[in-house]
């Protein structure tokens, strides 16, 4: 026993070093798991607060552009509203049961686009009704999925993440595919698994697919940049340009599916059988 203590005393530097490195590597390898990726409380309220201070200053420089974006969006919504009020009877109830999605506006307080796996932090959390697995969109297109929620903040796994995979559809021929990031450029993504008989033209629109419980259908994703023929002749890939510009993103909406509990229940019933 005494020898052991002597040994530890003598080599405490090396032992402590190895111990700390082991802790680091355990933390790092545990974080590889997709959803546990954020275990480490990136959404920690304190961290969110610091980013928010930093952003309070930065926001002033973007006021003009943010204003313009919001004005454009307003104009678009007004136009849509006029279509709705024209075609339906005057008893149209805007709070009606047809609404299954609720939109919660949020501000991005931290955003990364240059890492291998990118996250954002927004200034809305559990108290604002944010929950895990909600989808996040911007005025231009989809942005990501909520991965972790704390009291006042939430972490979003952006599309710019190696494990993001989203079902998408090509608008002009209704074909489905899977969107992954696949490039290291924040402007472009890859749609994988496209059957070879499908012809795509640059500029074709890509929207979200119909079978997702997270993303509402028909949200704008991006436009086709080029179709990459597979050398082995099986499934093709297509490089697409994201509609969302992740570098200048400030304002997003978190989409809450009001019937999500019901859907989850159905799904879990199905699994049990």
């Amino acid at each position: 026993m005494y020898n052991l203590i002597r040994f530890i005393q003598k080599h405490h530097f090396v032992i402590l070093f190895i111990l700390l490195e082991v802790i680091c590597i355990v933390l790092l390898s545990r974080s590889q798991n997709y959803h546990k990726q954020v275990v480490f409380n990136t959404t920690n309220d304190a961290v969110g607060k610091v980013y928010e201070w930093g952003n309070d200053i930065g926001d002033y420089f973007h006021l003009k552009r943010t204003n313009q974006q919001l004005a454009e969006e307003n104009a678009m919504l007004r136009q849509q509203l006029s279509v709705v009020t024209d075609t339906t009877t005057s008893t149209y109830d805007i709070q009606g049961r047809d609404t299954i999605y609720e939109y919660i506006p949020a501000r991005i307080v931290n955003n990364s686009i240059t890492n291998v796996n990118n996250y954002m932090i927004i200034d809305k959390g559990r108290v604002d009704g944010i929950e895990e697995d909600m989808c996040v969109i911007s005025t231009d297109g989809i942005v990501g999925v909520v991965a972790d929620v704390s009291t006042h903040y939430a972490t979003i796994i952006s599309l710019l993440h190696t494990s993001s995979a989203i079902g998408v559809r090509f608008l002009n021929n209704q074909e489905l595919g899977t969107l992954k990031w696949g490039t290291n450029n924040y402007r472009y993504g890859m749609v994988e698994d496209i059957p070879t008989h499908i012809v795509l033209q640059p500029g074709d629109t890509v929207v979200t697919g119909p079978y997702s419980l997270i993303f509402p259908e028909d949200l704008m994703v991006g436009t086709v940049e080029e179709l990459l023929q597979s050398p082995t002749g099986d499934l093709n890939h297509a490089r697409i340009k994201f509609a969302t510009n992740f570098a200048t993103l400030r304002q997003v909406y978190v989409v809450r599916n009001l019937y999500k509990n019901e859907l989850d229940e159905l799904k879990s019933n199905f699994k049990e059988e």
Partner: protein, 169 residues
């Protein structure tokens, strides 16, 4: 003094430097200054824990558990060896912590070079170890290292302690 430096460097790193996006390959890390300027005669366990501490705080902000902590711990571990290596026969009895008044700029450049290379190499190694994108990560290493060294040297010269103050201490 060291606590203030810790806070300021962490804030500078996460609020300013992490927003630099030149082609996505430039990732300068200047928070290493904290570990570099720790007292020379500090107990070794304190050195390791300080390195681990600042690394884990940076990790908290970047959402990369263990990545920076691993690199800074290794750097802290290597620090006594690096100091011996770069100073040769020079003795440090009169010097409390590395500073530009008592040590030459060339000494500091060598010191910074060794520390940054150890840190960046291990950092990018850990990243590639987990993400399997070695080519890209090597490129990051090659581009980021000189920029980190340049920034660190610049900051060290900017915040060089006054000579007169030094005498009073």
């Amino acid at each position: 003094m060291h606590i203030v430096r810790f806070v300021v460097l962490v804030l500078f790193q996460v609020l300013v430097l992490n927003h630099i996006r030149l082609g996505g390959y430039v990732h300068p890390y200047v928070y290493l200054i904290f570990v570099m300027l720790l007292p020379i005669n500090m107990p070794k366990w304190g050195l390791l824990l300080s390195g681990f501490g600042i690394g884990i705080v940076i990790d908290l902000f970047l959402g990369t558990p263990g990545l920076h902590a691993g690199a800074t711990t290794l750097m802290a571990f290597c620090r006594p060896g690096i100091i011996k290596l770069v100073s040769g026969t020079q003795k440090f009895e009169s010097i409390q912590y590395p500073n530009l008044n008592q040590l030459s700029g060339r000494w500091f450049l060598r010191y910074t070079l060794c520390m940054v290379v150890v840190h960046h190499f291990f950092l990018f190694f850990l990243e590639s170890f987990s993400f399997k994108l070695i080519g890209q990560i090597l490129l990051r290493f090659i581009i980021s290292t000189p920029i980190s060294i340049f920034l660190i040297m610049m900051i060290l010269y900017l915040f060089k302690p006054e000579r007169s103050k030094e005498k009073n201490l």
